[in-house]
Amino acid sequence: MADQAIPGEHIVAPASSEDDVLRVEHIAKSFGPVTALRDVSLHLKKGEVLGLLGDNGAGKSTLIKILCGFQKQGSGKMWLKGEPYEPKSVENARALGIDVVYQDLALIDDLSVYENMFLCREERRGGLPFLDKRRMKKETRKALDDIGINLPRLEVPVARLSGGQRQSIAVARGVYSQADILLLDEPLAAMGAKEGAMILDLIARLKAEGKLSIIMILHNYVHVLESCDRVNMITDGVIALDKPTADTSVEELTEIVVDEYRRARAAAQAEEAAMRGVSVAEPGV
């Protein structure tokens, strides 16, 4: 059924341009019988903020997890700054300059704020295996101050923080990781309006600096149009739209989604009708 219902036209990313930092072509990924990504191609320019939209289950998070080295794609190729990009692990991707803020935040409840900030990138004292806690606290304080997040105590386990505070720690961890490509999976999901605005301000500042290129999954179209240069929409495991945010509008993006719902409902009804046809035929069998 899914094979027949390709929504919109299948847009392949344009051929590599000089300023592409990341390019992926024909990425597919299945989990057993479930196809998460059918055929995704996209590209990211240096200093660009790319917004990724799509329905729940469209494959956005899977794409992010492939890009950051946590999962391996079923097929397809990736290039990082013109070189073939085949991350072996999250650490490997991080070493190559790609860092990520997961939707589930990947925070450790029983570890403190600063230990979470430096998880897997711990500062050590000289060449010794001992953690340089003072330096990690200092850097954490600096990073949080920079975003405008006020946490009085960095030694408390993150279990005791609010959803918004936790999310800002996860975002701060990604932003201050020396990465040059940052992947953000719904960075505003658990945040109130005020904290969300802080994060969007931070992203605007990073964009102005121009060093960091960002792919960001968002749900709010207004946020996308406000903070992204370009938007890609994933529906049904393929990219259905690729436009600069200047050339699109909340109405157009909404129309695509509404369209998809109509198509999905029509497909479901057709399926149901077919099933009924079968069940009517059954007694005769």
């Binding site: 946590f70 450790i108 409840d109 029983d110 570890l111 998880l119 897997c120 009085p152 105590r153 386990p157």
Partner: protein
């Protein structure tokens, strides 16, 4: 005391420390901070209980309890448990458990005995035995993390396998520990340095325990090995997403736990100068070590634990056994009191944990 509590606090646990940094007058902040810190530290309750128990025995037994001879007699009652419990602590923080330490404890001295009988130099035989125990931990870890069997089942399997294997190779016969004969030689009062290092010296087991506790305490609180161990136990998926090598973290802790069980096996064999194939004793040893870790404040569900707590838990167990023995209490009462102590310590720990979370101490 306060410095022990402070450094023993698991990463990220609340402390009253920085209160004075926020302009609270020092004189008021520090005593309050210390008291709170002490009472809400994971080890707090077991320290209080252990001190009360010690005071009780001193008051009722006086010199027979505090005498040098008795204090020395106390060491074997707690040092082996402390070493075993420290290994368990790391696995329990991971959310795993190792039931096979009793099997390793039983097997290690027989391997050592066979090697020594095969004319391998004693020191080398000990080292080979330790490496073999590390390898058993590796097998436990691989089966648990790569094959994907729960560690309870994996180590139950290796426990019986090792016990059975030990009975087969030993023909269920007690033997004399090689190298320990020198220790009990009637003609000379001095121990060989080998025997005095590996268990027979008065302070040997104590020193092993203290050194192992100190090293593993630093590993848990001051290195990424420790914080990754907590991370894996607290949020396995999150840790993996952040880049923690989850499998390796757990496998490494299995290897350490097994090695410690091997060390205790050798120390006890040379201390008592005999090697006995007694699976039931080994089983009790395993559960006692886990009890020490638990009453010391380490959670069975993972995410938090303390090495110092395990040491105090073992000390509590030792003092209880020793004190009751001197009082002439029937040995049957020992398990009864130990059981009550576990329940009491756990109830206090849970209550303190609730206070810690609810009082906004952090």
């Amino acid at each position: 005391m306060s410095s022990i509590i402070d450094s023993g606090t698991p990463a990220g646990a609340p402390t009253g420390g920085p209160a004075h940094k926020r302009g609270v007058p020092r004189s008021a902040a520090i005593p309050l901070g210390l008291a709170k810190r002490f009472l809400t530290a994971r080890e707090g309750s077991i320290i209080v209980v252990t001190v009360l128990l010690t005071v009780y025995f001193i008051a009722t037994l006086s010199s027979s309890f505090t005498g040098t001879a008795n204090i020395q007699a106390l060491f074997p009652y707690f040092a082996p448990y402390a070493i075993l419990a420290v290994g368990e602590v790391f696995l329990m923080i991971n959310g795993e458990i190792d039931l096979s330490i009793g099997g390793v404890y039983l097997f290690a001295p027989y391997l050592y005995y066979e090697l020594a009988n095969g004319h391998v130099p004693l020191l080398l035989a000990v080292l080979i035995t330790f490496v073999a125990c590390t390898a058993i931990g590796l097998v436990n870890g691989l089966i648990t993390m790569v094959v994907g069997i729960s560690s309870f089942i994996t180590t139950l399997g290796t426990l019986f396998t090792l016990e059975g294997f030990t009975l087969i190779i030993s023909h269920a016969e007690q033997v004399t520990a090689p190298g320990s004969q020198l220790a009990v030689s009637a003609t000379s009062n001095s121990l060989s340095s080998f025997a005095s290092v590996f268990g027979a010296g008065t302070y040997s087991e104590l020193i092993w325990a203290v050194v192992i506790v100190a090293i593993m305490h630093v590993v848990l609180t001051q290195t990424s090995w420790g914080s990754h161990t907590i991370a894996v136990g607290s949020n396995k998926l999150g840790a993996a997403e952040a880049g923690v090598r989850v499998r390796w973290v757990v496998i490494r802790n299995f290897m350490v736990c097994s090695t410690f069980a091997g060390i205790v096996g050798i120390l006890e064999a040379i201390r008592t100068s005999s090697i006995t194939p007694d699976p039931s004793g080994a089983g009790v040893l395993t559960l006692s070590a886990i009890a020490c870790a638990v009453i010391g404040g380490t959670l069975l569900i993972g995410g938090a634990g303390t090495v110092i707590g395990a040491l105090i838990g073992a000390l509590f167990l030792g003092i209880l056994q020793d004190g009751l023995a001197i009082k002439g209490v029937n040995a049957d009462y020992l398990d009864f009191y130990l059981g009550l102590a576990i329940l009491l310590a756990m109830a206090i720990n849970t209550y303190v944990g609730r206070v810690r979370k609810g009082s906004g101490l952090g």
